[in-house]
Amino acid sequence: MKITLNNRPEKFELNEMTVDKMLKIKKFSFKMRIVKINGVLIKKEQYSSSVIREGDNVQMLYLMSGG
């Protein structure tokens, strides 16, 4: 499937996947992040149940310590 991830087109083998699955596939390293699918906030408790599908617009913001 094709999705938009942080404003860039991305291709995945799977037809759909949970947020957790995408994080594993992409090997994102930072533990803390904010995820939105089509503008809707996905809280961290929902990463294992929220599904990303064809055409979805996924925004991810990595949170790193320091401030």
């Binding site: 992040r33 939105k36 310590s65 320091g66 401030g67």
Partner: protein
């Protein structure tokens, strides 16, 4: 528009800042100087010696409650603004209570886990209300990596989104100050495009 017109406009608005460390204290100082009418600031910490390398406190304030010291400094810079502070560790219920009437929120925490809690709570409680996050301020140099990104629905991030603090990449005054002021600069820009009469975003702070 001259400075007095700009600061008159800004005086009608309320900005909430989560955290009074390197990002929060420096952002608050710039907003106070610009004339933002009401600042709401929360932090649970006290001023320590190690804060002085980047945070807007002075040597004789070491040991003071951070938000009390910051309020004193902000009032000294601009006595005409209102500063409301809470010396508490933020949890979701408290975030919803203290920042409810703010027009714009600035996330200015140190710990990534606190950033996440603050942002998730705010996005859920007030969808569409401007929220400005700081992420990636560590080390020194690399001016051109510091930027602002618009994630849509009024969520913005300032910083390099890359470098986390560590022993080799400590937070330092120049980069923390730049990002804090990028956040403040965006606050001013968004407020200048907000009209109190036409469309309130928060439940609204009205100037007395």
């Amino acid at each position: 528009m001259n400075f007095s017109n700009i600061s008159d406009h800004l005086s009608r608005f309320c900005v909430g800042i989560g955290g009074a460390g390197g990002l929060g204290s420096n952002c608050a100082v710039s907003l106070a100087r610009s004339g933002v009418g009401h600042l709401v600031i929360t932090d649970f910490d006290i001023v320590s010696e190690t804060n002085l390398n980047r945070q807007y406190f002075f040597g004789n304030q070491v040991g003071m409650v951070k938000v009390d010291a910051l309020k004193y400094n902000l009032n000294g810079i601009n006595p005409s603004i209102k500063v409301t502070v809470y010396n508490k560790r933020l949890v979701p219920s408290l975030i919803k209570e203290v920042y409810d009437s703010c027009d714009i929120l600035v996330e200015a925490f140190d710990e990534a886990s606190e950033k996440q809690m603050f942002i998730e709570t705010a996005l859920e409680a007030w969808p569409g209300r401007p929220l400005i996050v700081g992420s990636g301020i560590a080390g020194f140099g690399n001016n051109n990596e510091l930027k602002q990104r618009d994630l849509g629905e009024n969520l913005y991030v300032c910083g390099d989104e890359t470098r986390e603090v560590s022993e080799e990449n400590p937070p330092m005054a120049p980069r923390v100050g730049i990002v804090a002021n990028m956040q403040a600069n965006l606050v001013v820009d968004l407020l200048m495009n907000m009209n109190r009469a036409q469309g309130k975003i928060g439940t609204g702070y009205e100037k007395k």
